[in-house]
């Protein structure tokens, strides 16, 4: 058993020419949390998802990482309007600005348990990419795994 056998082939994708508004549209339409971004030749460019987007709703100083970020934001009282402003200001930006670049795509030959471990660690959809061509082959998702395990439709 490998990642290839439990992945969902032909997943929903977003073209890398899309802007944030169009990408957000895709998430809403399909009610999914994360979607791979691909170029015209189906090469994988990054994962666009709600989790990465929430980061852009926050002040930049809160997401600097490496122990240098603010410890919390309890003392800041931004309103819904301010947060909306932040989102609206970015709607025309290219989707590639918002993809998770740190996430390493998986090889289709990854073992089943390694696949489960990666899913457990990353807590979201994992893209499966052909290492030679860089093309997107499918995605490993919670729904895909449990539908294989329980026999229910994904």
């Amino acid at each position: 058993m490998t990642a290839r056998t439990v992945m969902l082939p032909e997943p929903v994708t977003i073209p890398d020419t899309a802007n944030l508004a169009q990408a957000l549209d895709v998430l809403f339409r399909h009610r999914i949390k994360a979607v791979p971004v691909i170029d015209a030749t189906r090469r994988y460019r990054g994962l666009f998802g709600m989790h990465g987007l929430v980061r852009h709703l926050l002040p930049r100083a809160a997401t600097l990482d490496d122990g240098a970020s603010l410890t919390d934001l309890t003392f800041v009282h931004d309103t819904l309007e301010t947060v909306k402003e932040r989102l609206n200001g970015a709607l025309n930006d290219p989707v590639l600005r918002f993809v998770d670049r740190d996430l390493q795509p998986m090889s289709p030959d990854e073992s089943l348990l390694e696949t489960l471990l990666l899913l457990h660690r990353h807590r979201h959809t994992l893209p499966v990419v052909d290492p030679a061509s860089g093309r997107l082959l499918g995605v490993v998702t919670y729904w895909g795994i449990f539908s294989r395990l329980t026999g229910r439709p994904a």
């Binding site: 002040p59 100083a61 809160a62 240098a68 603010l70 919390d72 003392f75 009282h77």
Partner: protein, 445 residues
């Protein structure tokens, strides 16, 4: 030169140690390898080549007082920062000036200088810069002036006390200068230098900074009280810090070394932070706290001390000190000025820690020529002022500068090397000119 007893291939220890020292320095400047690896490698080669023995290096070369003081303060900060007190102070100071952009720049500069006088500079900017980025984002103003001013303030403020900057810790420990001596000799001129830098800050940025009333209102809505996450820990931390500072002030009369006080304070705070918890939670918390100690810096120091001990024991530094005395004609005032300016230029280009680690034994070996430890005290103040303030000259001049640049870059406001240099180098020269006048007037008039 020197008899080559235990050195490999019967080589002269003078040249072997000098070559190893030079290679270590070059490697540090090129920054291809992590600085701790370089220093430890240099130290290992000093011992393996037979220039120095391990026993003598650890006993006479490594200044455990410096290492203990640094580690102790790092532990205290690691615990204290958890309670949110630094965010509290930054937000409080911004609101005190009604979120006026120039007022905030002034306040954050002063807060940074004050914090860094008592904490490590890197720690200080790590605490202040994120809040600064938050405030400037809410105000919709360019963060560059603020971050620039904070870099300057951290290096200037750090100069003021024994514990403010690693060079001072090393100098104080080696020359047996007390916490109070640093306050008496350096704090007055540091205040003048800080004030002198605020004038160009105003003309460069202050008079042009403005924010909309709505943006200022957003900052005024920050509630700094909510930044305090743990009131009990806050009280404990502040009490321990007060005790530690009191300890530094009294250290000389109590015959205690700064490392004892810092490590003692760190241990006390660890105890207060942990005794109420179960065994498992304790090891988890203690492990995490120790993990926040900057071991790269500690091991960098350890290695450098041994490298410098190598050239010291092989007679290189004595030889160099004799040359300096000849060049300056044995004139103490001239030597003080030379040390100040050379230290400033050197520290703007290389890390001031290896520079000061080398200068300390060099100055020590000049002591007899100038008539004893009491006579050469101005040389120590020159070294401290030059090495600490010189770090402001370039973006790579001090660790704090690089840390701020890294944070700014990740927040989307990169600080360019040349843009920084263009403003910072002349301002650094201004600081050194003020120091130069101070040294002359106070010690040689």
């Amino acid at each position: 030169m020197h008899a080559s007893s235990g050195v490999v291939f019967g080589l002269d220890p003078f040249w072997v140690s000098l070559a190893l020292f030079a290679l270590t320095y070059i490697a540090i400047i090129t920054e291809r390898l992590n600085r701790a690896i370089i220093a430890l490698l240099g130290a290992a080669l000093m011992i393996l080549s037979g220039v120095a023995t391990q026993q003598a290096s650890l006993r006479d070369g490594v200044d455990f007082n410096t290492l203990g003081l640094l580690t102790g303060m790092m532990v205290i900060v690691a615990i204290t920062r958890k309670c949110g007190v630094f965010q509290y102070v930054a937000v409080w100071s911004a609101k005190k000036v009604n979120a006026d952009p120039w007022g905030i720049l002034l306040m954050l500069t002063l807060v940074t200088a004050l914090f860094s006088a008592f904490l490590d500079n890197v720690t200080t900017v790590l605490l202040v810069a994120p809040v600064t980025l938050l405030i400037t984002e809410e105000l919709k103003v360019d963060p560059f002036p603020y971050l620039f001013a904070e870099i300057f303030a951290s290096n200037i403020g750090g100069t003021a006390t024994l514990i403010g900057d690693p060079p001072n810790i090393m100098i104080g420990s080696a020359a047996n200068l007390s916490f109070n001596a640093f306050i008496m000799h350096l704090s007055p001129v540091v205040i003048v230098i800080l004030a002198a830098n605020l004038v160009p800050f105003y003309f460069l940025w202050g008079r042009k900074l403005s924010a909309t009333p709505e943006a200022r209102a957003r900052v005024m809505q920050f509630n700094e009280r909510e930044a305090i996450t743990n009131v009990r820990l806050l009280k404990q931390s502040l009490a321990v810090i007060a005790l530690v500072i009191l300890g530094f002030v009294l250290a000389h009369s109590l015959h205690l070394e700064p490392a004892t006080i810092a490590m003692g304070g760190a241990t006390l705070l660890l105890l207060l932070d942990n005794f109420a918890h179960g065994a498992e939670r304790q090891s988890e918390q203690v492990h995490k706290t120790f993990g926040e100690v900057e071991w790269i810096t500690i091991f960098f120091f350890l290695g450098l001390f041994i490298v410098v001990y190598g050239i010291e024991t092989a007679g290189v530094l004595k030889w160099l000190a004799d040359r300096v005395v000849i060049w300056t004609g044995g004139d103490l005032a001239l030597t003080a000025q030379a040390i100040l300016w050379v230290s400033a230029f050197a520290s703007a280009i290389v890390d001031n820690i290896p520079f000061v680690a080398t200068m300390i034994p060099l100055i020590e070996s000049m002591t007899p020529v100038y008539g004893g430890a009491g006579q050469i005290e101005p040389l120590w103040w020159s070294l401290a002022l030059g090495a600490c303030l010189g770090g402001n000259g370039t973006l790579i001049g001090a660790s704090a500068n690089l840390i701020v640049a890294g944070l700014a870059e990740r927040a989307g406001y990169p600080i360019r090397f040349l843009k920084f240099l263009w403003l910072a180098f002349p301002l650094m020269l201004l600081s050194i000119a003020v120091s130069s006048g101070y040294i002359y007037l106070r010690y040689f008039m």
